[in-house]
Structures are given as C-alpha cells and as structure tokens.
Symmetry: C2
Subunit: 180 residues, 2 copies
C-alpha cells in the first residue's frame, strides 16, 4: 500500500482550492490511492459547530482539520484540506505535526478574484458588507515555503492539475501510474 500524506491547499476564497482538490482526489483515487477530502463545510458541521470566524475560532477550526488529516495520513490515506487557512503560523504548526505534508498555494490576485467573483462575495466584501473577509478585511498570509505554487489566476485548471500531479510524482509523494 502507498504511504499517506496530507495535501494542504491554501489560498483566498475563489482561488480554485476546491476545484483542484476535487479533480486531484478523483485522479488519485483512479490510481488506487485512498483519499479523503476534509471539506470546509463538512468539517464545520461535524467538528466545529459553534465556532465563528474570529482569529481564535478560525485557528481552532484549522487545527482540527490538521489533526484529522494527520490521523488519516499516518494510516496510509492522502488527506486533502481545501480550507482557506489564512495564518502561516497555524499551517506551519500542522506541518510540524506531520511526517509527510505537501502544501499547495493557490495564488490569485484580489483584482482577478474580484473580476471573476462567481458568488459576488468580493463585491460585497469590498463594499464593507461582509466582515472578516480574508484578503479584503481580514489578513491572508502567503506561504513562504509551499511545496508548490499554482498561479490559478493565469493558468487553466487542467494545467494546474497536471503540474500538481507531476510535482507529487517527482517529489516521491506518489508514484507514476497505478499503485495497487
């Protein structure tokens, strides 16, 4: 069986974390890996009900995702997190608890995100109608040493996905081809 690890996406809302996470999950499952996506909403329902969006509550929520990812990763699963996870210190703390951790920064400018703005959230956040909106009224701290940066503002989804899979192979997180 293949070894597990945590594939940790971080980036602003709308930067494509969930899109790439879901496509990667499908591809990795097709290759025979066990994969779990720790979806932000599902985690908030099952592990973090009652928590809000203050710094402290966000940190707690992210730490819980990290704890569960680690439980899965050390048991041979590729655990995928696609939460914004805005604070570097918390991401790095989770990394330190892991034997194998692969961080993917989905990089996209606020300008680009505001242009797209599929859910209309940036418009509202920039107008001051949403409080604690990461990247607008709340901080986002870019990773300094992510294993991979995907410029999702400038490249196609398929291109990002292939870059991710190739990097996972080259860095020996996964093997090329089917694993079992």
């Amino acid at each position: 069986m293949s070894e597990g690890f945590t594939l940790w996406f971080t980036g602003l809302s709308g930067a494509g974390k969930s899109t790439i996470a879901n496509l990667a999950a499908g591809e990795l499952r097709a290759r025979g890996h066990r994969v779990e996506i720790l979806d932000g909403d599902e985690v908030r329902t099952n592990l973090s009900k009652g928590l809000g969006f203050s710094k402290e509550d966000r940190d707690t929520n992210i730490r819980r995702i990290g704890y569960v990812c680690n439980l899965l990763a050390r048991n041979g699963v590729i655990a995928i997190s696609a939460a914004i996870s805005p604070y570097r210190e918390i991401r790095d703390e989770i990394r330190r608890n892991h034997a194998r951790f692969f961080e993917v920064y989905m990089k996209c400018s606020i300008e680009k995100l505001s242009e797209r703005d599929v859910k209309g959230l940036y418009k509202k956040a920039l107008a001051g109608e949403i409080k604690n909106f990461t990247g607008v009224s709340d901080p986002y701290e870019e990773p300094l040493n992510a294993e991979l940066v995907l410029n999702s503002g400038n490249e196609k989804v398929e291109e990002s996905l292939q870059k991710l899979l190739r990097t996972l192979e080259v860095a020996n997180y996964i093997r090329n081809g089917v694993v079992r």
Copy 2:
C-alpha cells in the same frame, strides 16, 4: 489490506474500557492491522476544547469521535473509541453512519466500581462532590444490542481480551492470525 471498522467501547468510568482498548490495539497492530485509539482526553484537547459535560456537550463530543472513527474505518483502519458514551441514541446514530461497527459493552456494577475506585472518583461522586458523574448523578444507558458484553466485574482482563479477539474473528471483523 484488511478492511477497517470501528471498535466502540462503552461503559462506566473504571469499567476497563481503556485497559482492554489498549491491549486489543497492541494485539491487532502485532497482527498487521492499522489501529488508532481515539482517546477521550486527546479528543477533548484536539477536537472538543471548550465543551463541558452537559448532555448537549457530551453528545457533541461523542459525535465528533464517531465522525473521525468513521473517516478512519472507511479507509482500512481499526478505529477504537474508549469514551464512556452514556447515551444509547448517540451511539446508535454513530452506528448507523458506519459500514462496520462493533460495540463492546464493558459491564460492571456501581457496587464493584465503588469497591475498586482506583481514582477515588466514585466515593466523591456518591458523596455528591462531583456533579454529572455517569452512573451516579448522570444517566448511563446500557446497549441493548452490543456485539459483545464483557463482564469486567467478574472476569480477568486477559479473559476479556481473548473473548474480544475471538469474537472479532468469528464475526469476520478480523482474520485469525497475521493479515499482511
């Protein structure tokens, strides 16, 4: 690889849940299974900080353990919970979410537990010094259809452990001998 399942211990404080859980975990690991024990204290620290001991908070804590057990179990791990889990409804809800669930009731009378009282908790609880103490000042609902009942008040630890392992084999949760 072997299939995962959740091995769910329930019973009063001091009835031997953690003792048998730890021994079983060691034996199952030695046979080649992946095993995780969701220890009550560790879970309270990592998943349930801030929760108290009201019915609602206890239910939330147990549901979180159940959620994580299920994530592990469906990925080939034997996930072990050794929390008191006093309420039948919550245990049965967790059972329903699982593909494979094995409940072990560690049965021991309050009289026996008060006699032993290793930590002196029953004395305090019976004297009214500890509130919400399960089995004394807080309810404990016995399982009606546990896969196994271990009369830990009347049998030796080694006897309980062997009964558990044999039952897991007979019920095809594990195979006899080493699995990989």
